[in-house]
């Protein structure tokens, strides 16, 4: 891999041990990928503060510098961690003190994360603490080279915003924060961004649920490839595409998609494919839609629901407002919990607008920083949960060993009020 003089100086230690370790990791990583060079980035979204048993052990051995060296730089040396060279943010991590006592999630993890926030924010890491940084202060511009983790954020960044990022990890984002470099490979290269698969919806895709199910279908169809999607698609909003992209990156590994006429790199179907031949479309019809619904609902037997999870990926202000409207003046059934996950910045807006109060008056919780899947924690004794998120319905049963139902927001709220799942796929 070609290195500039500046990159060689970093590798050779001119900017200290931590930057040298970061460059060493980027070189090993870039060469494994077969990248020809690195590129400059000034937008890094990674994870340093999320507690884990392995991390707690490292912190005990050598403090946060040790944990950062091993986990974020793949380096076993004792190093000092300097300030990040370029703007860097923390994505979602574990539960914070607003969730203390709501589950078996340990107080020691909450404290460990608090100490990590102090350590890393002193080194220039913005604690956005969300899987949706684009909602709360990190909105890349078109063509900007980014180094982001979080598959649902990566696919949104590439597809909806037209910025360029691969699906990075804790180590590559740690190294990118310290160097402002990332391998120029994959989605950074313009010719790798064109669509190479076509999926056509023959049934209307309109609602939040429709977009999630369609995304889950598309991901299963194309796996790691780059779909253009066409057909009976209504104008999506932020929440729809947030759900759609997260689902494509759950059933598959989609990092970029195009919707001709909607997403920025696809003014037309031809443009989405970069003028290359357009393949035959895989079709999403009534049978495929039904099959997706049944897959997402194949993890539940009991219709006695005791937990509702909303806000995956983290809820937008509009979604919170809608939840508050549906819960206003109502009361959750005894023994049933409802959590809504959102970034802390939007929680403040929800407080200001009275949404938090409406949700809490009904017995629900508006929580920040994390989600049950990230923190492996839900209310004590939960056996059956319901969600409006295809991603959370896919992951949470495996992570917590509980049953799952997937449906609309209205069905989820109804289950919260009655304790019964009555979801059905609308014709």
């Amino acid at each position: 891999m070609h290195l500039t003089d500046e990159e060689k100086r970093m590798r050779d230690g001119a900017e200290g041990d931590a930057v040298a370790a970061a460059m060493d990791l980027l070189i090993r990583y870039g060469e494994a990928l077969g990248a020809e060079r690195l590129c400059d980035t000034r937008n890094v979204a990674g994870t340093m503060t999320q507690p884990s048993p392995a991390k707690a052990k490292l912190v005990e051995e050598g403090g946060w510098a040790k944990a950062f060296a091993v986990i974020n730089l793949d380096c076993d040396d004792d190093i000092d961690v300097p300030r990040m060279r370029v703007p860097t943010c923390q994505l979602q991590h574990g539960f914070s003190d607003d969730a203390a006592g709501l589950s078996k999630y340990s107080v020691s993890n909450i404290e460990l994360q608090g100490s990590a926030e102090s350590y890393f924010s002193e080194r220039g890491v913005n604690i956005l603490a969300t899987c949706t940084p684009y909602q709360v202060g990190n909105l890349p511009v078109r063509n900007e080279h980014c180094a982001w983790m979080e598959s649902s954020a990566v696919v949104y960044c590439n597809s909806v915003l037209g910025a360029r990022t691969n699906c990075e990890g804790a180590a590559s984002t740690g190294a990118a924060g310290l160097t402002g470099k990332i391998p120029y490979w994959g989605n950074h290269v313009p010719e790798n961004r064109f669509a190479n698969r076509l999926v056509r919806a023959d049934v209307p895709v309109e609602s939040f649920q429709d977009w999630g199910m369609f995304g889950y279908f598309v991901g299963g169809q194309v796996e790691e490839e780059r779909p253009a999607v066409i057909g009976a698609l209504a104008q999506p909003d932020l929440a729809n595409l947030k759900h759609f992209g997260a689902a494509t990156a759950t059933s598959g590994g989609v990092e970029i998609y195009h919707i001709p006429g909607i997403t920025p790199e696809a003014p037309s179907l031809e443009a989405a494919f970069g003028g290359r031949a357009i393949p035959d479309a895989a079709t999403y019809g009534p049978a495929e839609r039904r099959a997706v619904y049944e897959t997402l609902n194949s993890q539940g037997d009991s219709d006695d629901v005791d937990f509702i999870l909303l806000g995956c990926p983290h809820a937008s202000l509009d979604q919170i407002a809608e939840i508050a409207r549906l819960l206003d003046g109502k009361r959750l059934r005894d023994g049933t919990e409802l959590w809504v996950m959102t970034p802390r910045a939007l929680r403040i807006m929800a407080d200001r607008n009275g949404y938090t109060e409406a949700i809490e008056r009904a017995g629900g919780k508006l929580l920040t920083d994390s989600c049950p899947a990230m923190s492996k924690a839900a209310p004590d004794g939960v056996r059956v949960f319901a969600t409006d998120s295809a991603k959370q319905a896919h992951y949470l049963p495996a992570i917590l060993g509980i049953e799952a139902w997937f449906g609309t927001l209205e069905e989820c709220v109804s289950a919260a009020l009655t304790g019964k799942w009555r979801g059905e796929l609308a014709a």
């Binding site: 990791l25 090993r28 990583y29 060469e31 494994a32 990928l33 077969g34 994870t47 884990s52 048993p53 392995a54 052990k57 490292l58 091993v70 986990i71 793949d74 982001w148 983790m149 979080e150 598959s151 990566v154 691969n166 699906c167 990075e168 990890g169 804790a170 180590a171 590559s172 391998p183 490979w185 994959g186 796996e223 790691e224 990156a249 759950t250 598959g252 590994g253 993890q299 899947a373 896919h394 992951y395 049963p397 495996a398 992570i399």
Partner: protein, 138 residues
Amino acid sequence: MTGTLEFHGRGIVPGVVEAEALVTSETISGFGGIDVATGTVIEPRHELFGVCFTGKVLVFPGAKGSSGWSGFFQSTRLLGTAPAAFVFNVMTTKAALGAIVTRIPTVVGAAPDPVSTIRTGDLVRVDGDRGIVTVLSR
């Protein structure tokens, strides 16, 4: 078995190891796909559901799902439950970084297709220095 089965690809993490193969034709998810404490696959609909990969040569098409992939496999290294080697077909950032931070010999894109040729239980040598995978016995 007659003759030697040998697969040539690209070594992306150096080192040589001999161990039993664990083969799947399905992509593997890190977050929500594996339990790092026990080194087992926990994705309910996966054909390796409940199977432990610790100390095995994991032969698979590639990585899917969350960007936590590399971090989860790194945790298997830190907790002593890691595979002995990776052999996979499709290069992605998740799998490349995952192989590096798991620090196990890794060969990518080998021919003929290891996933359809190597069988679970085969004794396999993975040479990450030269990019060669060899079936020693089955």
